[in-house]
Symmetry: C2
Subunit: 113 residues, 2 copies
Amino acid sequence: MSDFSEISFGDNGLVPVITQSVETNEVLMLAYADSTALSLTQKTGLAHYFSRSRNKIWKKGETSGNIQHIHDVRVDCDFDAILYIVSQTNHACHTGKMSCFHHKLEDITSDEL
Amino acid sequence: MSDFSEISFGDNGLVPVITQSVETNEVLMLAYADSTALSLTQKTGLAHYFSRSRNKIWKKGETSGNIQHIHDVRVDCDFDAILYIVSQTNHACHTGKMSCFHHKLEDITSDEL
């Protein structure tokens, strides 16, 4: 079991995780991990997260098959954000798109002057 | 003033923001924004955040000069995470490195078997 004592987990025990494609550099998704998810990610080489909606560990692609092979795991200067660099099988988003970031902010906002 | 009613801000009124370089595709940092920061980002074309430590709006580079010109702002499928795609002046990290994600997880953890 790894020691993640340097990582600043939030009050909810979670740290935000950015996931980026090693092939295209595209930012695929943002999710959260607890220390168990980080440990499983390190141990298995497959991206694990903690699902806030289901309140449990979530191995990405467990049911969909859209797994993420880990190439690198990075931590930021404040030790409160993580970056998984992965090889994505199929696509990351549940909508079928490669990346979850498929809305442009200007398209979903209206200027009310 | 833009209407950000589709965005899911957390209980603290903040949404996580990933910042990525338009030139290199490097993930530069993760920070947070409230609706005012998002509005200022849209209006000025310069990245604004909400500083949790200083509890106020933070125009990136305000004191350091390391400003971020916005090229695109994206929203994820759940509307609870934002991606700023920017042109970074100088560097993003307060340590002087281009990206804040300069630690490898394996270098800051020790296996305790």
